[in-house]
Chain length 298, copies 2
């Protein structure tokens, strides 16, 4: 089974556990709307790739870790799209949850998805009790205070913020948690996988900043120019587009180099290189170079 | 040490774990604002009372369970107070989180408090791995879909809702989780304690409905008449004030009777009777009787 199919099946199966007659139907519909169809599912893919590299002897637990990561990511998107933040109309090419179901239900949908993530861990954790506490800790570290994604988003509400601290929390924390959770679910030490998560997380944020400026509204399914519009810190604004692109390539190379020695090292490195091309294809660099030549701006 | 002091200390200690220099200071301030000073802390008190009745052999774990319940309750209050729900100015006698810190930070504060609850379980669960998965499951059941408090709140967004289903999820679910979590944290079977949580949860909601109609704004620290204003289901509206009061007393008696046989049965029953008087004092019944005599309405 492909990793993609494995993720979709695990998500669907977990949803079916809470889709009972006793639940409010519109809440269930809004929760599904927020999660299906997915984007690239990069976070659960990363989690399962690391679990696989660590022999994946408890696939039900690594599935739970992977979908927990995706559900927490989706929860953050639902809340970030709400009027008090981005007030976005579109997400992943479809109408956002609050536009479709109203603000009250969007607020609750985010909350319910956070809890649904922990329900996945609780369900699978019964069979591997020794792994549950460290797994839970890693998932919490990636999402809450002091420096998970919620804290990252909260930096936008502070009068002063350092770009690296903001990006590390806003995006990087969940990538670090994905690699760590994949390792712990497979009974391995998460520490050697940390650097991979850090590099990918930062690279992903830089790629997002670049795409936000270049405007790939159709490709990303969300509106462009949001960072400047909301006055958010952005590496594309700080380094210029060419500088940001160079930094992105450096980070992806560091990610490739960071993969620890294991039988699956080559496979992991190939995956990271493919992800680099998917995130910012060669043609994007050509577009940037052309733009710089035309305008004289870097 | 009194149960109250134990709860405040455990909450404060847990907060200090995430209050680092790397966290956004305003997020931390908003999280504290939402939790301190507390209300009656009835949910963590119930959790610890049950743990105590079950011999409480893992006090760090029962503390974690108790504060997880309180943090999840506080998170729900922060989100319920937001403009898309109650748009409340006051909570527990102080200004609400979104009025003090703005909507974006209130949204994130709720999210961060949910995760902080699970962080408490992760932290303490390391020492009692066999108890962690069932504990986590109980906490999730009380809060998420299909019938935890988030689902209860979501019933307000449905075109049709049965009062008992709504109340059971909106308030009852967390009380059931409190008794269950207290038992599991102490290594006991949660099932015999379920009925106590159900009765107390429903009684608490009925008392809240009655106070909402009677208007004890000063005593509860929140505005009155909110249920009618928001068109919410209410037992006071369904049964009349006297009927609702009678139903409340029945539920509290059922709670007293439900306490399972254990060395601490008498202590638990005394606690429940005291809670009954605290929730709706004798003078409230006199007020109701007087009001009915004056207006001829029941």
């Amino acid at each position: 089974m492909s990793i993609s199919l494995r993720i979709e099946q695990a998500l669907d199966q977990h949803f079916s556990r809470v889709e009972t007659d006793g639940a409010p139907p519109r809440l269930l519909a809004a929760m599904r709307h927020a999660v299906f169809p997915g984007g690239a599912r990069i976070r659960p893919q990363l989690c399962l790739a690391v679990a696989t590299a660590c022999a994946d002897d408890a696939p039900a637990l690594s599935n739970a870790a992977a979908i927990a990561m995706e559900l927490l990511h989706c929860a953050s998107l639902v809340h970030d799209d709400m009027p008090c933040f981005d007030n976005a109309d579109l997400r992943r090419g479809q109408i956002t949850v609050h536009k479709q179901f109203g603000e009250p239900l969007a607020l609750l949908t985010g909350d319910a998805l956070i809890i649904l993530a922990y329900q996945a861990l609780a369900h699978a954790g019964t069979r591997w009790p020794q792994r549950l506490a460290p797994l839970l800790q890693i998932v919490c570290d990636g999402t809450g205070a002091p420096d998970g994604i919620v804290a990252g988003q909260a930096w936008e509400c502070e009068p002063k913020v350092a770009l690296s601290q903001y990006q590390r929390a806003k995006t990087g924390a969940l990538f670090v948690a994905c690699t760590g959770a994949g390792a712990v679910a497979a009974g391995a030490d998460p520490q050697p996988w940390r650097r991979l998560g850090e590099c990918l997380g930062e690279a992903y944020q830089v790629a997002d900043d670049i795409r936000d400026v270049m405007g790939q509204s159709l490709a990303t399914g969300k509106p462009q120019g949001q960072d400047a519009h909301h006055g958010r810190p952005s590496s594309a604004a700080d380094l210029g587009l060419l500088g940001a692109f160079g930094y992105f390539r450096e980070l992806m190379q560091a990610a490739v180099d960071s993969v620890p020695a294991c039988p699956a090292r080559g496979m992991m490195q190939t995956l990271v290189r493919a992800e680099s091309e998917r995130l910012l294809p060669q043609r994007a660099r050509e577009q940037i170079t052309r733009g710089v030549a035309e305008t004289g701006l870097a």
